[in-house]
Structure formats: C-alpha cells, structure tokens
Amino acid sequence: MRALSLFWLAAALSAGADDTFLIRGAVIHPVSGPSIENASLLVQDGKIADIGLKIVVAKGIKVIEGKGLHVYPGMIDSATEVGMSEIGSVRETADVSELGDFKPQLRAAIAVNPSSEHIPVIRANGITAAMALPGGGVIAGQASLMYLDGWTWEEMTMRRDAAMVLSFPAINTFSFSFTEGVVRGSYTDAKRNYDRRMKQLREYFESARRYQKAKAAGGPGFKTDLALEAMLPVLEGKVPLMVSAVRERAIRDALAWAEKERVRIVLTGVRKPGNTLADLKAKNIPVICGPTQALPMEEDDSYDAAFSLPAELHRAGVKFAFGSFGNQFSRNLPYQAATAVAFGLPYEEALKSVTLYPAQIWGVDQIMGSIDKGKSADLMITDGDPLEVKTQLKRLFIRGREVDLESRHTKLYKKYLARP
C-alpha cells in the first residue's frame, strides 16, 4: 500500500501539478481588455501566470492545444439557490427559506450540498461561481459566493458573507398562491403591513447600532447576540446589503433608507425602475438584473420590458450583473445576457455582466471575473461565443483544476441513447 502511494506521488510530480498548464494558440478573451488571437495562457498553481503571443515554459508542462478554440473567464451567477434546493416541490430537499423575519446570522454556505446534481449541470455551461441566496422574511441571512467545485461546502466557499439579503418592504396589493392563483388584497391592508415592516426594519437597525456601541464600550453586562453580531459587518460597510426592490416606489424607499442608515446596498429583482436610474447612477448603486427572460409585469407594459431593461440600465450608466434566481435555469445565465443584447445591450457589456461586473459588485475582482495575471484560473474553453445557445463548452477549469463536464444529464443521455 505504502509503495503504491509513493508510486502515485512520483507520477504526479513528474507530470506536473494538475493546476499548472499552458493553453496554446487559442483566441483569448480577457473581458477586461481586447481579445487576443492565437495567444497562449499560462496557469501556475491555479492562478493565471501569463498571457501573451509567445510564452516560454519549462519542459514537461502540460500543454492544451487551443487551435480554433476560445478561452473566456468562467461566468458568475449573482443570484441562485444552487445546492440549497434539489427538487423545488419537495420540502425535504429545500433549505432556502428559514422561519422568522430577522435572521442575519444564517449562513447560506453551510446549506450548499456539494453533491447536488445541479452543480455539474450548471457548470457544464461555463458557470464557475454562484451566489447562494437564503430567502424569506425581511432579513433572510448571508448570501455566500460559492465556487462550483469542491468536496465540501467549505472548499467551495469563496466568500461566506458576500452579502446580507434583505427583502425590502413594499406595498403589495396582490400575492400569488398555487391553490388560489393571484389574490388581490386591499390597499389599506397592504399599506398597514408595509408600515409595520418598515417600523420593524428601522427598529432592527437601531438595536444593531446599540449593540455595536455596547460592544465597543465593552461593559461588564455585555452579552454576545449572534443575530446582531452578524449585522456588524453590514453597519461597518464591509458587507453590502442585497436589497430586493421591484418597482420605482420601493426602489426610492430603499435608496432613501440606505442613505439614512449609511449602509452599502446592491439592488436585486428590479423590474420597473421608472425614474430612479439617474439616482442609482449618482449613488453608484449596482443592480442584479432579475430574470431577463420574463413577462412584463403589467398588462400594458411593452412586450419587451424585461428584455430591454439591461440596455436601459446600461444607457443610464448603472452597473449591473445577471442572476438566475433559482436552480433550474442557472445554466441559462448566458442566454439571459444574450436576450439583453438582442434588445439593445452592447455585447461587451453583456459578457462583462456575467463575469467582471459581478466580481466587482461582490468585491472579488482582484481574484476572479477576467483573464488577468494573478487571478484565479476560472476558465472556460469553448468553440465559440458562450452567449450563443449552440456554442459547445469543451473544457472548464475552476481555480486551475479541470472540472468534469459529465452530469446526471450526460450520464442518462449516454445510457439511454445506447438502449437497444
């Protein structure tokens, strides 16, 4: 046994480490800058070490022939339930929404099942990292930025507290339930509910501030409170609040509230921003675009309202990234971006909003989001434009390690294609 492991060790050393290799002769699309034809890319110890027309490397290094192929940075999905929910309709497999209204101490990362069948399915379309979002209540908990590769959730975690998820109170006069469809309620009830929620939210932040002071003062009676403790990075501006606000009124409310509370926010679920775009730009507030492939909200909205929203954000100078807001369609993230291109978003912007921009929004652009020296080698090799549906992903690397592209789907495909 011992001799055998020694043998393997030697073999591994002689072949070079798995996360060190050279891609040669491909079109490299750094995303942060212009594409380079017939170029090479050196990955060393899982990081991008060099990009250029000619790179001299030590003998024996693994070489990947990239002729006719394209190299892009891996994509980042800014809103998913990846690993937190397996089969939507089966309660036992869903760990997204916890009970209670204020639970900032909850951490999405630990509920990400690394064996979820969704993970290989999603990454087979070039998505290398995803925000796993908790849901429910007002403050749902901490969203975690996860690499879509790892033996454990710990290995997958890129940033456990990438954002704090806040469902901003809104005046909703209708709700949807599976048994009853769209249920309309009265404005008075909705307003009362909204006022109550807003009051709770203000009070919660007040108590978090009091807790912050008490902790700083360090008096003898101070006791740790796990929920309020989790709010400290938010109050200190270290962790942004991921605030869902759909319509103009809710967005205005959220902006005013964030200014008053002096917290950093990222807006999500924006559908009808109305006249708030100039404000978003002025205040430098980024947006996670809700599913672009969606119906208009109102009957009299333009048929392409959701398709053209990203272009509208871009024209207004608002920074944004795409999210799939689920599991099932996370693999279609690039096509959300492509639909936005069909309806006016410049192509380069679309590509950036699934790579570089989410990295910037989540504060990890020193590490991922583009092909630049020193960044993590999260790379996809394709036979063409990754936003085009028919493009095939050939190989995928996460932190320099090649990832298997097989999934539940490819296995079933092969098995049943071969059925006599």
């Binding site: 492939q293 085009e388 294609l417």
Partner: protein, 450 residues
C-alpha cells in the same frame, strides 16, 4: 352556426389581404431548404416562393434584405387566451372545452405573436386523468373569439398522467397537508388509479359507441327505436376511439407513458402526442412503435420528483429513435422564444439547424394534423411567416414582423413608434379617472345608503 362562421371568414380573408411580397430575405422553408429569395402571398396563402418572384401591381412589398423569414412558430402546448383551464372537480372532464372560455383580448396573444408564434394548441389543464377538449388558435390579435379559432383544425382532448391527476387523491407536499381529509379526496391517488380511470372511461365509451351503432343500424333498417341518451362526457371519447379527436396526453415518467400506450392499444385508439414526456427518451422505441408524437421542453428539470430524470437531450434521443418530436412552451413567457429553445437541441444532442427548426414548425403542425396548412414555407400553405433580424437559431435574433394569413399582425417598428402615444393615452385616462373621483367626492354619494 358553423355555416355563419364560414360566411364571415371568407370575405374577411379576401378583403383584408392584398397581395404581399416579402423580398430579398433568407428564406428558411424548413421542408425545402434555405435560400436567398422572395415569397409572394395571395389571398392569405403562399402563392410563390423563389429566388425571384414577380411583384403584382398593388402588392404590399416588405423588403427583408439581410433578414430571415421562416414559417410561423407553432406551440403545441399553451394555456394563453383561456379564462380557466382546470375543471378539477372530476377525474374525467371530457365534457368541458377550452373553446367556450377563449379570451381573445388576453395580451398573451400579442406577446406570443411578438415572439414569432402564429398558431398554438390551447389545452385544458392537467388536473384530471382525462381532461377537457383543446382548441387550436391563430394569434389573430384584434379579432374576436371566433376570429382566433383555427378554422378546420381537428378537435383534440387533453389527458394527464402522473403527479398532477393523482394530487387530489393523495395530497402531500407544501401547503397541501391541510387538505388531506378523507372528505375532499378525489380518486385516483396513484398511477394505478390513473390507469383505472382511463380504462373505465373507455370501457364506458365503447359501450356507448356500441349502443349508438345498434341504434343507427336498427333505424337504418326502418325499425322504430328510441335513441340512447346523449352523453357529453363519452362523446369526445368515442371521437377519440374513431380517430376524429386527437389525444394529447400530459406525462412525465417512462412507466406511465408506456401504460397509456398499452391502454390505447387495448381499446384500439392512438395517442396523437405525448406532452412534456420528459422521460420519453427512456421509452422512445415504444413511443415510435405506437406512432405517437412527443412534445417536450428543451431543458426544464427537477422542479418536481417526476422531472428529476428530465434531460435536455430528450428531444434529440427521441428524434434519433424515430419519434415525431416538437418543443412546446406551456408558458406565456417561454412561448416568446421557442426559436432559441430549438437551438438548445443543437447544443444538447447535436441536431442540425433544420432538425432544430422543424421542432417548432413542421413537426408540431404534423402533430396537430395541420401540416397541409402550416409549418413550412410552401406554395399553397397559409402565409404565416416570421421575419427575424438575425438567424432565428441565434441567441441574438429578434422578431421584426409576423404575418398570419398574409396579414401583418406584428410589426416591431410600429410597436415602438406607438409607445409614446399609448403612454399619453394611459396618462390621460388616469387623469380622467382622478378627476371623476374628485367630482364624486364633492357631490357625495349618488344615493343614500339603504
């Protein structure tokens, strides 16, 4: 009534459609290749297709230089334009039909049109083992309920297998426990029960068919006999037995698919299409042998247990194993981009461009027995055409114009140019309502409360 429809429909076509020529486009015929050329439309039908066609005097010319024209998309499974879709109180609801609840003012019609869809089969829901009757419609936005009917389309009926029809018999899952009292349970609660409901219904239908046969024979011989009482539930099933009504069956798992094929064999009728049929790839051989078509999703999966083995290669495997396959939406949203859904079968399973496009055009037309009318660009067929700015299988393609029966029903430029006008109109109406409300406040309630 039928006669009246006919009289109304004929002049409508003649008056409303002057000759149209779509010029200089890349014409994707689906059945006869693609080429740069033009299409002449007369009286709502495709009159000529070729590299050059003669433009008749007075023709409306649409210059589609640099653009792509393909047959109107056919969605074999939709629920738009229906006021209600599930008569869920009984396990066999073949007496009800979508035709009676069509809403021609559903904006979903316009949105589908804007996504290149010209025809859709509007189905009853999946709450019952044997559901209601379906209705094929054309997206003739602006016309009334009779105006959107696909005239002459063969009638259909919805069946449903698996989780949905048995849900009311064995409630479980989120929010359903509270309903699980014995009082409101509805048979069936298992896949065994679903088979039983279908067999019982067809057993009855056979007897009903026989009773009528005997009656007709006897009265033909001049015997004085009382006709059997009419049964509106069994009539559509007899039509299904006689091949006059197409059966479209919602299904997921391989076991239930095979069950239905065998029940159909037993009673001597055909399943026209299996709908969703997410595990169709596991029994493609059996489906092909029965001659059923399959209409599936491109990549939906894992939203419920019976969708956990769904794979995006389903369409490709079934097609390769000889099944007539189409892609459908079952969604007013997805319906608007079936072109890129088709493109996914090139990614997953390596279908050719033409195979991919046939999944949303000629194949669903065949599944509805309407391939003599729609589904490809051929002389004599209905001039239902979609014009895209880019190749329709590209993620970046956008619908520019849609013609139905040779008439432009969607024009993106027109839609864009009318948006300001519509906004002003809306503001004017809102303002008017506000003023009326203020007026009413001043005047107080019109009548004292009783």
């Amino acid at each position: 009534m039928k006669l009246l429809c006919f009289i109304l429909a004929v002049p409508a076509v003649v008056w409303a459609a002057p000759p149209v020529v779509v010029q200089n486009a890349t014409v994707i015929t689906v059945t006869r290749g693609a080429f740069k050329g033009s299409i002449l439309v007369k009286d709502g039908k495709i009159a000529e297709v070729g590299e050059k066609v003669l433009v008749p005097p007075g023709a409306q010319v649409i210059d589609a230089g640099g653009q792509y024209v393909m047959p109107g998309i056919i969605d074999a499974h939709s629920h738009i334009a229906a006021d209600s879709i599930n008569e869920g109180s009984v396990s066999v609801s073949s007496m009800v039909g979508i035709e009676d609840v069509l809403d021609p003012e559903d904006v979903g019609i316009y949105r589908a049109l804007a996504g290149g869809v010209t025809t859709a089969n509007i189905l009853h829901g999946s709450a019952n083992s044997i559901g209601g009757k379906c209705q094929v419609i054309k997206m003739r936005w602006g016309q009334d309920a009779e105006g959107i009917l696909f005239e002459g389309a063969k009638p259909g009926i919805k069946f449903a297998l698996g989780e949905n029809p048995k849900r009311q018999g064995m409630p479980s899952g989120v929010g359903r426990r509270s309903q699980g009292t014995p009082d409101n349970l509805r048979y069936p609660g298992t896949r065994m029960g679903v088979e039983d409901v279908i067999r019982q219904a067809f057993n009855e239908a056979k007897q009903y068919q026989q009773a009528w046969k005997e009656y007709r024979e006897k009265s033909a011989r001049g015997e004085k006999v009382i006709p059997p009482p009419r049964d509106l539930k069994l009539e559509p099933l007899v039509e299904a037995l006689e091949g006059k009504r197409l059966v479209h069956a919602h299904c997921y798992r391989a076991d239930e698919i095979l069950m239905l094929l065998r029940v159909a064999d037993e009673f001597g009728f055909k399943i026209k299409t299996l709908q969703h049929v997410l595990e169709g790839y596991k029994v493609a051989k059996e489906i092909a042998a029965h001659g059923a078509g399959a209409s599936t999703f491109s990549d939906w999966w894992a939203y419920k247990v019976e969708a956990y083995d769904a794979i995006p290669y389903n369409a490709a495997i079934m097609l390769k194993k000889g099944v007539l396959v189409s892609l459908n939406s079952d969604s007013g949203e997805l319906m608007r981009r079936l072109n890129t859904e088709a493109a996914k079968t090139m990614k997953y399973g390596g279908l050719t461009e033409n195979e991919a496009l046939s999944l949303i055009t000629i194949n669903p037309a065949r599944q509805l027995d309407l391939d003599n009318r729609i589904g490809s660009i051929e002389t004599g067929k209905d001039a239902d055409l979609v014009i895209y700015d880019k190749h329709p299988l590209s993620s970046y393609a956008k619908v520019l114009k849609v013609l139905i029966d040779g008439q432009v029903y969607f024009d993106r430029d027109k839609d864009l140019s009318e948006r300001d006008k519509r906004r002003l109109e809306k503001n004017r109406l809102l303002e008017k309502e506000k003023q009326q409300q203020q007026q009413q406040k001043k005047q107080g309630p019109r009548r004292p409360a009783a």
